[in-house]
Symmetry: C2
Subunit: 329 residues, 2 copies
């Protein structure tokens, strides 16, 4: 069935008694073709299952019909479902517009995959996901002036980017918790170098306002010691609600609480700035913010395609969030 070589534009032209250029025009929609000719062509190619050769098309028009997506970072980061969902959004909306997706997974800050992809001219544009940004990837893309969008990253203004409004979301969320009567808050975080973490902390601070003191936030990157302090603090009723900057931190906390025989929400209330499926399945369910990573991918992709097509597009886009009320607060 697919053994025999594929049918070309020439075959179509011959069969229909028109020229190749006419067929090309009929298909692409560029240039005038009579309605009748166009229909004949379209019908014929559909009947014959004709699909243009992407390479030939690419060579002639110097466009690949591919976009690249770059996932860089530590393993711990890449493991987050976040990327899967992003990827899904990107693939789907790229596909809907006839683009295929290439992926570059560069783990240790080496951008080999990305560089090869660009240097080989395999893609028309690139989407950079979180973490990829402050490394050389950005400079590299800038230097090669290829269209690109970053997801969830950059302070560097002037580049096209899309993200959730973490600061705003976390502020509103924290305010809500305060309104419910919590006063002695503690924010737990890790990955303090991540831009998103800093944004979340900022939102928290804004919500707390002038009552903020530096002992209201705590880095728990190095597991046991810091967590031990937290548990002590809870026993001494130093806190009434603990907010976690992400679901990983929250999982850790919940583990420790259960080991220590402390229950939620009786002994301590718990909330999280980022609730994945893991948290929503927890008992009691954890009150948390939900961000839709899939949306992020979809939006980034449509911005990129606009950029590629030379159309107008916004420079920065901030997506919304949702609050998942649970039983933990």
């Amino acid at each position: 069935m697919s053994k025999d070589k594929a049918i070309t534009i020439e075959d179509v032209a011959l069969a229909l008694g028109v020229s190749e250029s006419t067929v090309s025009r009929a298909i692409s929609g560029k240039g005038r073709v009579s309605e009748e000719t166009r229909n004949r062509v379209l019908n014929y190619i559909k009947k014959m299952n004709y699909v243009p050769n992407a390479m030939a098309k690419g060579l002639a028009s110097s466009a690949t019909g591919n976009i690249g997506i770059v996932v860089t970072g530590s393993h711990a980061f890449m493991e987050l479902p976040f990327f899967q969902y992003c990827l899904e959004g990107i693939c789907e909306s790229a596909g809907a517009k006839g683009y295929d997706t290439m992926i570059a997974m560069d783990v240790f800050g080496k951008n080999r995959q990305l560089e090869r992809m660009i240097v080989n001219r395999k893609v028309d544009g690139v989407i950079l996901t979180r973490t990829a940004t402050d490394d050389d990837a950005l400079k590299f893309l800038l230097k090669h002036d290829i269209p690109f969008i970053t997801i969830g990253t950059a302070e560097n203004s002037g580049i096209y980017q899309v993200d959730h409004d973490h600061c705003e979301a976390c502020r509103i969320f924290t305010e809500g918790i305060i309104k419910k009567g919590c006063e002695r808050l503690l924010l737990l975080y890790s990955e303090k170098t991540a831009y998103v973490t800093r944004k979340r902390i900022q939102g928290f601070k804004e919500a707390v306002g002038k009552k903020y003191t530096s002992d209201m936030i705590l880095d728990v990157s190095d597991d046991s010691k810091a967590m031990g302090l937290v548990i002590d603090g809870i026993r001494k009723h130093k806190y009434d609600c603990i907010i976690c900057a992400d679901d990983r931190v929250c999982m850790k906390l919940l583990d420790r609480l259960s080991v220590s025989g402390l229950t939620v929400p009786e002994d301590i209330k718990v909330a999280s700035f980022y609730g994945s499926e893991l948290l929503s399945k927890n008992r009691p369910s954890i009150t948390s913010l939900k961000f839709d990573a899939r949306d992020l991918g979809t939006k980034a992709c449509s911005m990129l395609l606009n950029l590629i097509d030379g159309e107008e597009t916004v420079k920065e886009e901030l997506l919304g969030y949702e609050i998942a009320e649970g039983q933990s607060v």
Copy 2:
């Protein structure tokens, strides 16, 4: 820097006073070129940062220099870090051989992305990650006779595939647990349609041998009810060790145990056939099997590239495993 259009093979030929075909030969290594000429060419193109136009090359040689990777299945499946690690292995080893990687993420059993990728002839071969065995993707690839490898899937012999030896691993693992003195075992599983689950169950049965009875395995797909029975059983000392078919199930179990006030390993011993990072961070650490998904990707990729190059390659490859001893047994 990259504004000015890229230098072509013609430019190189002109500059060096040789023909384009000589340059082509020097670069590809196919066909004879004198050592001297070859060096001149190689030096020059390095100096000039010449990179062949992948599309032109592809058009002329009808090969894309891309491989495709397909991730199909439910969200729950795709969320597993398994895919990330596979992907990483694939990207890296593809990259090492000069191939770029395209990704098709088809979520709901529709193979749109895959089909587009194939029909557009964007890839030279495909790697299919864990999918339902009767998946259309498989039929589609067979029909288009494009080289492909499946990872962790198919019973369908005759197709190229790579997987871990789940059956063997689970048998040995279970035997080890029995040797430690556990007698009243229970195997918890979900996703019973997955090939890998069936293999794991089979290994378990083999280890138990003729003492096996059907109430030694239990499907806990529908959370609460089945899990409730398990908890009851534990209280009645019906089991001394519970083995989970994967880390998801194990997480669920651990949650329930902690809610029920049962402790590991005092009240009940726990082990898992698949231990992700989540489990290894648990306290107490869970005794489990480790499979390296990255290896799977690497191996699959090298098999695929062999296939593409028309070289010999094994039809089936079974990779090893590791036992992570924890404090839970």
